[in-house]
Amino acid sequence: MAAQSGKNSRDLAFEKASAFFAFVVLFLALLLFAVLLRESIPALRKFGAAFLVTGTWDPVLEKFGALPFIYGTLVSSFLAILIAVPLSVGAAIFINEFAPPWLKAPVSLLAELLAAIPSVIYGLWGIFVLVPILRDGLMKPLTKYLGWIPLFKGPVYGPSMLAAGVLLSIMIIPFILSVSREVLATVPQRQKEAVLSLGGTRWEMIRIVIGQHCLPGIFGATILGLGRALGETMAVTMVIGNRPEIFASLFQQGYSMAAVIANEFAEAGGLQLSSLILIGLLLMLVTLVVNLAAKGILSKMVARASRGI
């Protein structure tokens, strides 16, 4: 009897302690949101909702608008996802299904090491290696022959939305790759064998079994990568060109929310500072909206997948 009640009170203490920690996390998130909101009130009061759709960023005239930054963040991040997801999922499938054992470990290790490289180093590599290669090897030829397409319109200088998208895609590959590999590993062996035994090819096996079983997980991995890309600061600011303007062409410069905050925060004051903090708040909201939407889609996918199997 005595031992039982001792166990219960310890359980209760543990429950209370873990509840406390959970509330601390929630409290910190709310505190962050509250401070951002408080500091952005001057900008909110001056600009209101027009802040979201204004394209000017003028510290001298004190006219600020977030539209080019929202555009830049979303475009560079989605471009990164567009490039990274096929690469990562393909690599994950290769490592798990096709790679000979002696290749598995080094390739997966190297891919995961990409995550350990600091953002600033990526930025430096971007300036000195990636941008010249993209400019001379990809952008200039494309502009020459396909420059009439708005997406590829010149002039080509180097730092561009494309450069930012490509650099970001390299940075998020390890995240999408490792989660995809985990998800792929959860596929029951007998299901794979079942397809093969029915005469399916390797490709059909992958497409049917893995596609159906793993889609929610891979989608989750994509959202993880997207989250990283949305908030990435230093690497983006070093290759995107830092121009607060919206262009149709991927070869033109752009700006992102995190980049403008990193660049201008230190010397900003007054209304400019408040506008930068408002952009920070918007970034937080964009991330929240993307994650909520992803959760919604994810739960639908899981429901469909569980019904299918």
């Binding site: 000017t56 960023w57 003028d58 510290p59 001298v60 005239l61 300036i127 000195f128 941008v131 010249p132 002039p155 200088y157 180097g158 730092p159 600011t237 070093m238 060109g241 830092n242 121009r243 607060p244 410069q253 700006y255 980049a259 990193a262 660049n263 201008e264 230190a266 010397e267 900003a268 004051g269 400019q272």
Partner: protein
């Protein structure tokens, strides 16, 4: 029992000794003076603090190069003993301080246009209107007649001009835009002056290193960086036509000449701009950098130490400047600064 007593006694002694050390600052302890501010003079101040502390071990300095804006904020808040800035405080900013603040000029810097153009060597000639035209996006090719007519001995390539500017707020941008605002009415109307502005065209690079990086990596690029930066990175620099109509190359001498040109009309508070300065040899995009100190010091010892250091800085310290690619203050200015230092006082008594 004995060992426990021994441990207790030992701990008590250690605590007592350390308390004595904390509460009683002996005469041998060096006085620490804290400062924060501009990044531009940081290499110079580092050298100064090192040399000065070697010669005067009773004083130690601690400087955080957080930017001119940060320096102004911290001296206003009183968290540091002195601030440092490349852009003088505005009237509004000076109202927020707890007492009158002095701007003590320490060194001169220059902002220079740098470029990366195949086949064009150092010394491309530009005029204020051409430079403004490039940065306004109106002159877009290197072989534009307006540039070609200034450089008849050079075959200008038919290439795009890629404009580079600062993406972060900085004193360098303030000096550069101040210059363009002073010499070009269209720039004044469209863009204006500031630590950060709404650039009509161009790629933004973070810091002097960012702009230098863009220029070096992009054929056909033009940017603006601090003179020290251009020199140390061996970049091609443009000569500008100054107020007197003379084409001047950006050198330390030309920078000092700009200050000498303004020395006679220098206001007593030294809050003057050196852009477009008169004088045949003056470099038109020059600027002062200042140390900010309160006129009424709250701490006599530190105030006295500050005044002694500043006196040294504007006299002996100036000798170290050219080696670090800063331009020394001209003698006329040094004399005025010396007089200004006499104003720094503690409870009404001058600490000079």
């Amino acid at each position: 029992m004995r060992t426990i007593f021994g441990i207790l006694a030992g701990t008590a002694t250690a605590v007592a000794l350390s308390l004595a050390g904390v509460t009683g600052a002996t005469a041998a302890d060096p006085l620490t003076i804290n400062g924060a501010g501009a990044t531009f003079p940081y290499p110079l101040y580092s050298k100064w603090f090192y040399e000065y502390s070697n010669a005067n071990p009773d004083v130690r300095f601690n400087y955080q190069s957080i930017g001119s804006g940060g320096g102004i904020k911290q001296i206003t808040a009183g968290t540091v003993n002195f601030g440092a800035t490349d852009a003088p405080m505005t009237e509004e900013e000076m109202k927020k301080t707890s007492g009158p603040i002095l701007h003590i000029p320490t060194a001169l810097g220059a902002v220079v246009p740098v470029y990366n153009l195949d086949g064009v060597a150092n010394g491309l000639k530009l005029t204020p209107d051409v430079l403004a035209g490039i940065y306004l996006g109106k002159i877009t090719r290197w072989n534009d007649p307006k540039i070609a007519e200034l450089n008849k001995t050079v075959t200008m390539p038919n290439a795009d001009i890629v404009v580079a500017h600062r993406s972060d707020g900085s004193g360098t941008t303030d000096i550069f835009t101040n210059y363009l605002t002073s010499v070009n009415t269209e720039w004044r109307a469209k863009v204006g002056r500031g630590k950060a502005v709404n650039w009509p065209v161009g790629i933004g690079g973070k810091g002097n290193e960012g702009v230098a990086g863009v220029v070096k990596q992009t054929p056909g690029a033009i940017g603006y960086v601090e003179l020290a930066y251009a020199k140390q990175n061996k970049m091609n620099v443009a000569s500008l036509r100054n107020k007197e109509g003379h084409f001047v190359a950006p050198t330390l001498e030309a920078t000092s000449a700009a200050a000498a040109g303004v020395a006679k009309t220098m206001p007593a508070d030294f809050r003057v701009s050196l852009v477009d300065a008169p004088g045949k040899e003056s470099w038109p995009i020059s600027g002062l950098t200042w140390i900010l100190v309160y006129k009424d010091q709250k701490d006599e010892a530190r105030g006295k130490a500050m005044v002694r250091f500043l006196k040294w800085a504007v006299t002996d310290g100036q000798k170290m400047e050219t080696a670090l690619d800063y331009a020394p203050l001209p003698k006329a200015v040094v004399e005025k600064v010396d007089k200004a230092l006499k104003q720094i006082s503690f409870k009404g008594k001058s600490l000079y």
